[in-house]
Each structure stands twice: as C-alpha cells, then as structure tokens.
C-alpha cells in the first residue's frame, strides 16, 4: 500500500475517532471518570439514525442530526438517573467508572434485544471510488472527512465563543468544576453530556456507514477511542483530535507495513513478506494503547 | 539530620519553591510557617518524595534522598503526616496503627502463609504498642471504629499515632493540631516535646498557630511565595518586620 492511501485511510479513521474521543475526554475531565458506556451511546444514536433513515425514510444526513439530538437527551437522562445519584452520595470516581461499565452492558444488550444482533446498513448508494494520486477514496469517505472537519471547527468555536466553552476550558486548564464555573455546575454537566453524546453519535454513525452497524459495535470501538483520548492527553479536546490522528496513522501504517525485515534480522532468517494477520487487526489499537499507557500516560499534549 | 540545598519546584510558570535552603538539626524541633500558598506543603511533598523536584538537593542523615520514591524515604526513617489526614475508610483505628508498624513479619504472601506463629507473636507486640499510643492520644475508646468515621481532629491524632508506630528518626508534621480541641492540643505538643527529649527524634512542623510554634520550636523558618524570607528563634521571628508584612498582606 502506498503512502497516499495510508494518508487517506488515516484521515477517514481520524475523523470518526476524534468525534468520539472529544466526548470521552469531556466526561473524563469534568466528572473524573472513564465512561465505558460512551461508545454505546454512540451506537444507540447510530441505530436511531438507522430507524429514522430506513424505517421513516428520512434523508440520512437529517436522520443522523436528529439521532444526535435525541441521543444527547438520552445522555442527560442516563446521567440524571444514574450518575447524578452517585455524585450526590459522594461516590468515588472508581465507582462511577464501574457503574458506567454496568450501564454499557445493559445498554448494549438492550439494543441487541430491540434490534437483534444482525448487521444493518444505511440507505447509501453504492460507492464508486475516485482516484487521487493513485489512492482510492469513495465520495462517502470524502463526506466523512468533511463532516469531521466541520464538527471540529464547530467545537472550536463553541470552546471560544460561548460561556459553556469558556467554563470548559477553565476546567481543562486546572481547577475543579465548582471553582471554574460562573454558571450553575449541574447545568454545565447537562450540556456536557448532551454535547458528548451528540458528537459521539456523529462519529459512531460515520463508522457504521463505512463499515457495518450492529449493537455490539460499541464494544469493538471502545479501546481505539480510549486510546485516542489518552494519547491526546485527557481533558484536552484538541489533544483528542490529535490523538485520533496519531492513532489512525499508526494503525494504518502497521497494517500496511511489511514486517519481514524485523523478523529476518538483517539476513539472519529468510522470511518472505509478512503482514499483520487480519485476525489481529483489533489487537493493533490494544497494543498501541498499552504502549502509550506504559511510556506516555500523560498523552502528547500535556495539560497546563 | 535534614539538609535542604537550593530546592526548586515549579508548577508550570509558578515557582512553588524558589531556591529554598534550610537545615533541621539532630533532636531539635523546627517550625515552618508562612501564609497560605507559600509553599510549605509543597516543600514537605518534595522532601518526602511525593513530588519530583526541579532542582536542588536533599540530604537526610548525610545521605542524598531526593529522587527516591516516598516508601524508600520513609524506610530510611523520615516520615510524614498529611495536611488533609488520610484515613483508610474501611480500616479500624487499631488496624491503622498496626498497618504502620515497622518491619512486620507476614507482609508478603509467603511469610503470611507459612510463618503464622511468628507473625502472630509480632502482631501481639505491635498491638501492645499501638494500644499504649492510642491511650496517650485518647483514642482508646475508638479503637474498633472505622477510621473513615472519625472527626477531622481525631484523624489528625490517628495520623500522629501511626507515625509514632513507625519509630522514625525524623517526623514531618503538616499542621498536626488543626481541628484538635485546645486541651488536647496542649497535650499533643507536650507529647511531641517529650518524644523529642526521650527518644531524641527530630521534628519539622508546619503550623498556623504562632502560639504553638513559639511554645515548642527551637527554630523557625518562614516561607513566602516559595522563597525563604526569614529564619531564627521564635522570638526573633515574631519581631521580624518582613514576616509581619507577609502575614498582614496575606490576611
């Protein structure tokens, strides 16, 4: 695989992952726990979009926007029903994290119950790839990259132009919620959940569009999303984007790489071209995650 | 006993400790005062190994200890308490005391399983010592209460007891009397002074109350904005204009 193709695949993957990583990093930063249900919210939204698109016949773009809106409220509702109660009794972040794992299991299986385990697809016309510099890219992938970019610009504006964004940045800079907030902190948390879930839905739907949609998808993408988040430095939305880009590049590079020279040790052995077996594809991001955690747990962009 | 040379610690652009040098001599009680945010607790955190320093050197009993992890420093005989007392929630007061005992048998799975008679014997000895200390700290009645359920002042007392269990050569106390009732406070200070006399231990104490400091300290250092601004006997410090100014502007 040539470099142009690697770059294109990287951009597509990064666009998808960063939208998911932004939400995860916000929750981590403000409520101080790793939300293991985050990608399941995203998949729930993607399934809503599927319903709006396939069953109600809505335009796919509108379907996703609507689904993001609905899921944003689901995020708030789950917080009110579960996490807010735990905050009230002063539960430790670890308890919130374990509870989010329970939430993830319940939500994932509820989706499986409602929509069955079968894979689903959106109503997208068959994609005819274009050639750019010898690399192939489908119009859908171009759309994913554009939507990803637009969402990030929107997020940047939100960070700098709204009181919510300013409060968010203040928290990210150092202090805890109570100190940083000119506005009511519970209100702030609600907005944060809405935004985190809605952005996740856009990212999740894009992954579902490009690959497949099924209720367990959330579990299959949780590790890459965590990896991108940690790589970028928790609590830093720009870091989340950069982390997604770095992870996507590393993944695609490793997939494309010929590992034979590594094994041959400069002529010691003579093995033909070796590539990572496709069975280990999911393990790539796991390994990157573990390596990142071991050597740079603070991420690329350190918090101030 | 403890020598600190040109210690530096930065948090981003903030200089939390700026070229601090000081000395705690053998069997003396030294105080450390300064307005809020002047770097007192930061100094303790760096000396005890919880923060990495950005420059300077720390020597304990002639040995360089900066860069060592906190547990190694504690093992060398330099122990500390925390400003916000740490009290394991689901461990009783007695368990807390036993936890601290030095060089216990049965602290690894092997000896815990195969040397039980000897472990029990050493537990018994530690238990006696713990009960005695709890008696002195007036915590005996609470010995089987969870440490997490104690009041702030009681937690302070417990953390003192724990440190005494360790029998260190030098103790860093971070506001040991905050939240402790006044009568007990006097007794506590008395206990510290006695320990220093009998067992020749050194103390380095962060305190807010000037009264406490001038009662027991041989020497006092003053920090402000991460810099050492004064040192001397309690009387000298009380008359130092720079110190008064720092406190007045801080208040």
């Amino acid at each position: 695989m040539d470099i142009a193709q690697i770059l294109i695949n990287t951009l597509v993957r990064a666009a998808e992952l960063s939208l998911l990583a932004i939400g995860l990093t916000m929750v981590f930063d403000i409520l101080k726990f790793a939300n293991f249900a985050h990608t399941d919210y995203a998949v729930l939204g993607a399934l809503f979009a599927y319903v709006f698109n396939r069953i109600l016949g809505l335009n796919l773009f509108l379907a996703i926007i609507l689904a993001a809106f609905v899921t944003g409220w689901v995020g708030i509702l789950i917080d009110q029903a579960i996490f807010k109660r735990l905050r009230k009794i002063g539960a430790k972040p670890v308890t919130l994290m374990i509870t989010s794992m329970g939430t993830a299991i319940a939500l994932r299986n509820l989706m499986r119950l409602i929509w069955t385990s079968h894979t689903k697809t959106y109503a997208i016309p068959l994609q005819k790839p274009l050639e750019i510099l010898g690399a192939r890219i489908t119009p859908l992938q171009i759309g994913i990259i554009v939507v990803g970019l637009l969402s990030m610009i929107a997020f940047h504006l939100l960070l700098h132009r709204t009181t919510f964004g300013k409060a968010l940045r203040a928290i990210s800079d150092n202090s805890d919620l109570a100190n940083a907030c000119a506005i009511d902190s519970e209100k702030m948390i609600k907005r944060m959940w809405f935004l985190a879930s809605a952005y996740g839905v856009i990212g999740g739907s894009m992954i579902a569009m490009e690959h497949l949609l099924y209720p367990r998808l959330g579990f299959d993408i949780i590790i890459p999303v965590f990896c991108a988040t940690i790589l970028g430095g928790i609590g830093n939305p720009y870091g989340a984007m950069l982390g997604a880009l770095t992870l996507a590049f590393a993944e695609n590079l490793i997939l494309a790489l010929d590992l034979a020279p590594l094994i041959n040790l400069g002529g010691l052995f003579n093995v033909g071209s070796i590539q990572i077996s496709t069975g280990y594809k999911p393990a790539i991001s796991f390994m990157i995650l573990i390596i990142v955690l071991l050597f740079k747990p603070t991420g690329i962009l350190r918090k101030k | 006993m403890l020598t600190i040379k040109n210690l530096e610690k930065r948090f981003g652009s903030l200089r939390a400790l700026d070229d601090v040098s000081l000395e705690v001599e053998d069997d003396s009680i030294v105080g450390l005062i300064g307005p809020n945010g002047s770097g007192k607790t930061t100094l303790f955190n760096v000396v005890s190994g919880f923060y990495e320093k950005d420059g300077g050197e720390v020597y304990f009993k002639g040995e360089r200890i900066d860069g060592l992890p906190p547990n190694k420093i504690a093992k060398k005989g330099l122990c500390r308490t925390f400003q916000v007392s740490k009290a394991p929630e689901k461990m009783t007061v007695l368990e807390n005391m036993l936890l601290a005992a030095k060089r216990q048998l049965g602290e690894n799975p092997f000896s815990a399983l195969f040397m039980r008679p000897r472990v029990q014997k050493s537990e018994k000895a530690n238990l006696d010592m713990a009960l005695e200390l709890l008696d002195m700290l007036q915590l005996s009645q609470l010995k089987n209460d969870y440490a997490g359920d104690l009041s702030g002042g009681q937690k302070k007392l417990l953390s003192l007891g724990r440190v005494f269990m360790l029998k260190p050569d030098m103790i860093l106390l971070d506001e040991p009397t905050a939240g402790v009732n006044p009568t007990l406070r006097v007794q506590l200070m008395e206990a510290i002074r006695q320990l220093q006399k009998m067992e020749r231990k050194a103390f380095f104490i962060i305190e807010h109350s000037m009264k406490v400091i001038s009662n027991i300290c041989d020497k006092v250092y003053v920090l402000n904005f991460g810099k050492k601004i004064a040192e001397g006997t309690p009387e000298e410090i009380q008359q130092n204009e720079q110190v008064l100014e720092a406190y007045l502007s801080g208040a």
Partner: protein, 299 residues
C-alpha cells in the same frame, strides 16, 4: 434423572465461577485493582492445562500446576503498568489485555487449534470412578478446591499482607508514606489472584472437556463483576453468594428459554440486560452488596 444431573452441573459451574469471583474480589475488594480483563486468567488456565495434557501428554497434576503458574505470571505482567498508571487507566488497559489473550487463542491455530478449540480433554481419574458417580465426584473435587482456596485467601487477607492491601485500596499515598512498597504488594496480589484464576480455568477445561475462544469472551468478565457487586466486596463469602445468585440466574434462564417466545440470541440479550441493570441498581442502592465487608475487631 436429568433434573439431578442438571443440578449437579449447575453446582459445578457455580463452584468454578466462585473461584473466579474470589480471585476478582481479592483484586477489587481487597487491593482496589479494577481488573476488567479477569477472563484472561480463566482462559490461560484452561488452555495451558488442556493443551499440556492433550498435546504433550503431561500428567494432569503437573498440567494444573503449570496452568496456575502461567496465570500467576500473567498476573505479574498485568501488574507491571500499575507502577505508572492511575487506577482508571489501568482498568482500560486490562480490558484490552483480556481481549489480546483471547485473540491469541483464536489466531495461533498451530498451538490452540484456533476457533475450533481444544477437543478430547480427558476426564481426571476416569478409570477409578464409576461413570454414574463421576459428576458427583467432580463436584466434590471442585468444592474441595473452593474450601482450600477460601482458607488460603482468608489467611492472606487476615495477615499483615492483607492489611497492607486494604490500605492500598483505601489510601495508596498513605501506604507509601508509611514505607510500604505498594508496587510490590500489588504485584504479589496479582500473582495470587492469577494463580486462583488459573485453577478455575483448569477445573473448567477438564469438566467441559472442550474449550474454544468462545468460552472466554469479555462477557465472562462482566459476569464475574456482577458476582462481586451483588455478593459484596471485601469478603469471600460475598463472592461465593454472588456466584450462586448470578449463575443460578444465568443458567436457569437458559432453560426457561424453552417456554419464552424469544430466540436464543434475544434471550441472551435479555439476560445480560438484566445483569447490567442489576449491577447499576446494586451500586446505587446497596453498594456494599448482599454481604458487607466484615470489620476486624480486636478486644
């Protein structure tokens, strides 16, 4: 009598999962190590013991011991990153490491037969026990293991070692300030937990006589978590009670499936939804679980 056989099967599975729950409880309830990859110990134990016996003809006793040792070593490896990682980061890493172990079992077909799994695992002491009595014999064997592990773990948690672990769970910095090498303690705790998990894996393999990567999906870890959350952390009785409750629910609903108009996939989904909700409800309304951690009282 199929009903008796079913009950014996159920009890045996409860027993095996009790061991896994006790091992997880040792990590979570006593040391505060949030391990979301507990199934890895189960998987390594099961594969090591069965492959040693089936492919290499090693005596079963030796195979069990090697399996426990290997799981223990894996526990050691898992504990290494706790040095530099906060507990939530470590939890994320354990989730990944559990999946990596399963992927190795799935992909290294030369060793593990990949998705086909290991078949023909022999029964222990098959020639000495009458065929009809075998299930009861194995159940007794599992119970004996539980009793041994229970005593072994209780001795550890009641020792100064166990006290140190509890202090790490509640206040790690305090533990450091008292001169405890918390990293070494966590490492020892993970080795102990891994060994117990490996024993459970071996018992499982030689009971079921056929294992495949399907047996070691992340869902198993979540079941074990449900057990310690429902049963209660910080005591081993809770882990056993939790295993009883969750396995009773898990296994018996499989048979109820015959009377409910739902496909097997939907039934499984419903089961796990309920378990997820149960986890949430317990954490919200009864965080200490069915059995509370016992206070250690001196007189």
């Amino acid at each position: 009598m199929p009903i008796i056989n079913f009950i014996i099967y159920l009890l045996t599975m409860i027993g095996i999962y009790s061991l896994l729950a006790m091992s997880l409880n040792f990590q979570v309830g006593f040391t505060g190590l949030i391990n979301f990859g507990q199934v890895a110990f189960f998987c390594i134990g099961a594969y090591t013991s069965s492959l040693l016996v089936v492919n290499a003809g090693v005596p079963v006793v030796v195979a069990f011991l090697v399996a426990m040792a290997l799981s223990g070593i894996f526990g050691y490896i898992m504990s290494i990153p706790t040095k530099s990682l906060k507990s939530d980061y470590w939890a994320i890493a354990t989730l990944a490491s559990g999946e990596i172990v399963r992927l190795v079992a799935l992909n290294e077909a030369w060793l593990t037969a990949g998705p086909f799994g290991v078949m023909g695992i022999p029964q222990i002491l098959k020639d000495l026990i009458p065929k009809d009595a075998y299930p009861v014999f194995y159940l007794l064997f599992v119970i004996a293991c539980i009793i041994m592990v229970y005593i072994f773990l209780s001795m550890l948690t009641n020792s100064p070692f166990g006290r140190n672990l509890k202090a790490i769970r509640d206040e790690e910095e305090l533990c450091l300030s008292l001169g405890k090498d918390t990293q070494k303690l966590k490492l020892q705790a993970m080795i102990v937990a891994g060994t117990v998990g490996g024993l459970a894996g071996s018992l499982f393999a030689f009971y079921i006589q056929f294992i495949s990567p399907e047996n070691f999906k992340p869902i198993e870890t979540f079941l074990m978590w449900a057990m310690i959350i429902v049963g209660g952390r910080g005591n081993f009785k809770g882990a056993i009670i939790g295993a009883v409750v969750i396995q009773l629910f898990n296994v018996s609903t499989r048979f109820l499936g015959n009377y409910v108009p739902l496909g097997s996939d939907s039934m499984a989904a419903l089961r796990m939804t309920i378990i997820g909700v149960l986890i949430i409800l317990f954490l919200l309304f009864r965080p200490e679980g069915l059995i509370k951690e016992k206070k250690k009282v001196y007189d």
